[in-house]
Symmetry: D2
């Protein structure tokens, strides 16, 4: 049994962490923080947690966090970086679900996030928390940088192909679509129900913060610096889900990628390679930690192979993956607390 | 550990039963049936259950059901009544989630459901499966008639008031609203996405099948035959949830109903009486077995007291309540498998 | 041809007014104002109006308004009251879509709206802009108080019954449901897509500002002070629409209300009395100025008669009714610009 | 004034045609047909048309159609081809909104649509009804093949680039997303509200019927046979809208496509080229005949240029474009009846 704290527990990622934690047998939630709801009962903000959580929100920098074995940050960027060094000193381990420790090069990070990094010297101690790629390093990490939602879906779609040098790495397109909860739980005009309900749109086409994160990770797979990725995020009028349609050019279109992917993901509990020609949908992974992938090979040398990849942005794309990382860090079974099936409808 | 079967597992109630069963430690699912998907793998119809259920659908009247300890019927009406007598003979116990055994008087049943009842002689052996009212009888029942979704929300809203004779029983209005999953999982024009998404409407205003079920149960509380209930169901463009707005006239508007309700439901795990003036919503009970109730007293003798009651129609209104009944019938802890918090968003 | 201005044109009521005005042959839009989008092109905020409107937003109190024949206020409460006296002095006529001039008694208004009224002395010059009740007065009005969305749907549902003394006026319940656009176009957490999409709920059960407005108007019909109304508003996860389920007790349940209503509304272009037993829905009136009503009589003396009434909250419940009032004020055909059929789906 | 008939008026395209026709000053609707609703009043099926249309549905092959000047087919494929030859003989002109006359090569048509074509000999008399490409031919056409919804959005996105040889025609990807109304108005399980509301998915990834239609038209622009197009359709949980994200490789990435597109579409009323870097959304074109396009150039030779194109699938993608074609055929102003702004929200 370990004790944990959650900083920034009033966002969708935060409340999802609380939901998952209530179902985890080896974890005791000791502290939750929120600067906006300080001193408020958790259940007054989230009545779905009535009878499950009996805590009040503390402010973010409460001393109580020091007493936790593990602290999750479910905060906007530029918050965790201010608190993490002190927590690491107190021997707390940290899983940061924000972007503060995902980019190894502080200059790149500062360019995309527009603020000075508060502790560039510890970025390189952070492990990128994608278990399918860095499982062993995660086990010993003091500080885990939990991946973004788009990167999780897209990297898992590409990992076996790049690892096995099957595709032209200078010609990759990821057309990705996200449910609205990805925009966070905050009062903005653009995500009002009436602005969204009949609206589908692309956004940040000229450049999205998840692009450098994906490039860094894809380049690390084979140490290949030449990867080119065109990434277009879109917003879908639904709550949860990332759907990535990834277009690649096989180096040899007679090679059966299905076999390579099957072998690669055979032992992964949370990647489900579907039969050839399948059409995974976001509903089938809702509320689960699963990534479902299917492959649609092109028919000739001009046609792209299409890789479809779906996750729940709040689970495998955020809180669930964080729990999976926690399980690895503390030697729990990797799937503990993450095995409930998807909710339909 | 008991073995169970589910007849009619391709509907929303059926797939919800399968979802809940995968999370229940004391149950082994042996048989699932479907006349439309016979011989098909469950996971091909419901990919959310991939890695959770490794069964094919049998046809409804398969002999395999006889070998189960307990059989759930998640079928449209007039199906269970044809199979239940044979199963009871084989010492299977049965929880029928359809309407076949809810109405004690076969003539009333036949009037509302438009077919001849196949086994009127065993109707009176059925126990109405509302644990908050008939917990002790359920424990010993061979055949449980699981309540309808509207009746569950509305009866729980009224139970303490009628039990304690607090209201004018000849002047009750239940204005109820249901998510679309209540219409079942079938191909109909009226429940197509485009017919529903911007459409709110009442239906069956002249008379809905849940009315006689509610009247029978409400009358049974104090043995009072004079109850009058006006019931209007509506359809809401959302997936899950029943919201009942119940209008009653207190016999004495100086009596504090809040206190009576608090006492009445104090020990109930799945009825959550909220603080006075609260506004429960369907989202807070989604995917849970909880009924949330709040009271809004009128200010003078002319004003009605308003009782708000919300459930998830597929859980407390169907599959979850069935699991709760099963727990009672087999001596499991009543809450086993039913304690996960609601899913937000 | 008249010239008009719209104050507060960045809300949903404002943009709906702009949409309707572009289709009206006798109106020239000269000024639109917005304090938040001052100096911004209209089409940058509302790209649906590209090629239709070539104006910039001015600030609310621009002198340009003085030059308009008619000014619409589509502002939150307590804004119009500060500008209207000056405009009336300049011989502008005014249609106020906010609540500032709806309540004749300033004390009642101040109690419900929580601010001091800026010009109580002119309230009684305002005509309540419900054409079906006050058509003749509207024609000559300098200042029209355009009705609220709930009052429009509910008063039209009750008008013939009260006028003809058919019902017990001390026992009326209006259970009303509104689409989310009724909450306005502003950045609030409670109306974020993810907070709304699977959430149905009641709100302001203890008292909503539209209650005194309805009581005042209903009492004015026959001069009867004794009317009691229980009103419960709910929020529906859809964009547009008000659905009112109104429960009344007929004084004589053998009288056929259908005939009375048919006669009463025979010549009204924007009230559509449907055949007995019909189920109107919000989709059928979307984007139209129509109110659809149907009657469902109870079967005995204990049962309520149920009146269903639907409108589009932004059209007949706001901007469309304002155009209808304008047509009356300027002698245009009452239906000009308001005859397009509903949008399905 | 011309007289028209609509065959298959109970689908979403049919009811949209009826809606548009009620707002067109030069058209009299004489006949509407439906095999499923034969002899039913139109307004009983579509209450939004109450007071607008006073007709009953006839069966598809009614003789009455012969008396119309123009007949629209809003039927599934393989219906129009059986009736069109007879109508042309009677000097009716025809606009077919189905696919029967879109593909010039009957063998290709039969491969994709799976039935024998009933009148291959008249296919080459049909004009493809995209005014921006074939305006002059449409004016004199007896038979117009109205384009599919995906082809309309995607061809308009590519037309100036291909016409001016700006891009690599062997490397085009169209990732397209459609609202649910595109699936038609019929009772299917897959498009039930509860199956769709939280589900985003790709479909027909291995090949969609609109692919050969697009290839034929794109090849016709410059007579270039080598065009390669990867096309992936997706389904979005919303009613209306097509959103196409089109990825192209400029032949010379220093050329400014924005200028070429601006010039090309300068005089087109229903193509709105937005400023560089814009993010058009489906809501801004809802209920309008407008196609909004924006360009996002890549930054180096490896990056794709991204073209975003949005339409309302039922208007510019079907019924609106059919009215536009009718206006051309009869010498009405091309925009008659098509100028109302989009509906927000």
């Amino acid at each position: 049994m370990i004790t944990i704290g959650i900083v920034g527990a009033t966002g969708y990622t935060g409340v999802e962490l609380m939901r998952l934690v209530t179902m985890h047998p080896d974890v005791e939630l000791k502290v939750v923080t929120s600067n906006t709801e300080k001193n408020e009962q958790v259940i007054n903000v989230f009545p779905n947690l009535r009878s499950h959580i009996n805590l009040k929100f503390d402010q973010h920098d409460t001393e109580k966090l020091n007493e936790c074995d593990l602290v999750f940050f479910a905060t906007p960027h530029a918050t965790a970086m201010k608190q993490v060094p002190r927590l690491l000193e107190k021997d707390c381990r940290v899983i940061d679900l924000s972007a503060d420790f995902r980019i190894q090069d502080p200059e790149i990070w500062e360019t995309w996030y527009g603020v000075k990094h508060a502790c560039p010297e510890i970025i390189n101690t952070a492990v990128y928390g994608l278990p399918e790629l860095y499982r062993d390093k995660i086990k010993d990490a003091k500080l885990v940088a939990n991946p973004g939602c788009y990167p999780t879906a897209i990297i898992l779609a590409l990992l076996p192909a790049i690892k096995n040098s099957l595709i032209d790495i200078k010609d990759i397109i990821a057309d990705a679509k996200s449910g609205i909860s990805g925009a966070g739980r905050k009062a903005t005009l653009a995500t009002q129900f009436s602005e969204i309900a009949e609206s589908f749109k692309a956004y940040s086409v000229s450049g999205h913060r998840h692009l450098p994160e994906m490039l860094q990770t894809l380049k690390s797979i084979n140490g290949d610096d030449q990867i080119e990725l065109t990434f277009t995020p879109h917003l879908v009028p639904m709550n949860r889900g990332i759907f990535a349609t990834v277009y690649v050019k096989p180096n040899d279109h007679t090679v059966t990628m299905q076999k390579v992917y099957t072998d690669y993901y055979e032992k992964e509990l949370f990647v489900d390679l579907m039969p050839p020609g399948s059409h995974p949908d976001t509903l089938s992974v809702r509320a689960t930690n699963m990534c479902r992938i299917s492959l649609h090979p092109g028919e000739n040398e001009y046609q792209h192979t299409i890789i479809l990849s779906v996750i729940d942005n709040l689970v495998k794309g955020a809180a669930g993956q964080a729990i999976q990382n926690m399980n690895l860090m503390y030697g729990f079974d990797e799937a503990t607390g993450l095995l409930e099936p998807g909710l339909i409808p």
